[in-house]
């Protein structure tokens, strides 16, 4: 009886030690700041002086319709930001209508 109790205690002790070890290891792991809860990725935070991400995006081409309206379509012309900021400073506003 005494021997069985001791074995159980040792087992509980081992499990507790393993849990504590696992928690310590998780706490010591470097956290990825771009990771959100749920696995979604957050865009990296940009700071002043950092190299700006270079992207190439299509322009919106606007055409007037016969009834006087405006029709927008994706232009075949693309703008590479690095080729623009080489000439002038660039100001980007990013948004959607909604």
């Amino acid at each position: 009886m005494v021997r069985r109790l001791k074995r159980r205690e040792v087992r509980v002790l081992l499990v507790c030690m393993a849990a504590v070890f696992a928690l310590l290891q998780m706490a010591a792991m470097p956290r990825d700041p771009s990771r959100r809860p749920g696995g979604r990725t957050r865009a990296p935070v940009l700071t002043v002086g950092q190299k700006a991400p270079d992207v190439e995006l299509p322009r919106l081409a606007l055409e007037k319709t016969k009834d006087g309206g405006v029709l927008g379509r994706v232009s075949s012309e693309k703008v590479k930001l690095s080729s623009v900021w080489a000439k002038k400073p660039v100001c980007l506003f990013m948004s959607s209508y909604t």
Partner: protein, 146 residues
Amino acid sequence: MQALYEAYKDKVEFFFVYVREAHPVRQGKEGGAEARSPKDIAQTRSLAERAMAATDCLRGLKVTLPVLIDTMDGKTVKGYGGHPAGTAVIDRDGRICFTSRGPGGVKPKEAEKVLKELLANKGKLGADVPLSEGSPARAADRPTKR
């Protein structure tokens, strides 16, 4: 935004980057949007749809800025964090001078202050700011100013 563009368009290159919808309406059973007003837009599923939404946006907001369409995989959003909205000012060396993001991330007044400083310095950040390529710590997740 429009006023800033009108004031500085000769010295600064402005772009309005149209990103994915922040608050799209739900798709109807037939695939169309359950639109109740002209501003009700379903999430765009192609560049052509995004271009149409951008046109409605320009018409609604009465802005004449040159518009770029973000790619369907959201290169701009991933790079600059411009969702649901954001602002970025970049100098002639390709360095970030100002960014803001999140709801209400379009900040023309703050951008104007930075642009004034930039233009006074030939469009470049001061030499005292080193060029860094790395991604900074999470603690800096707030609008950055010079």
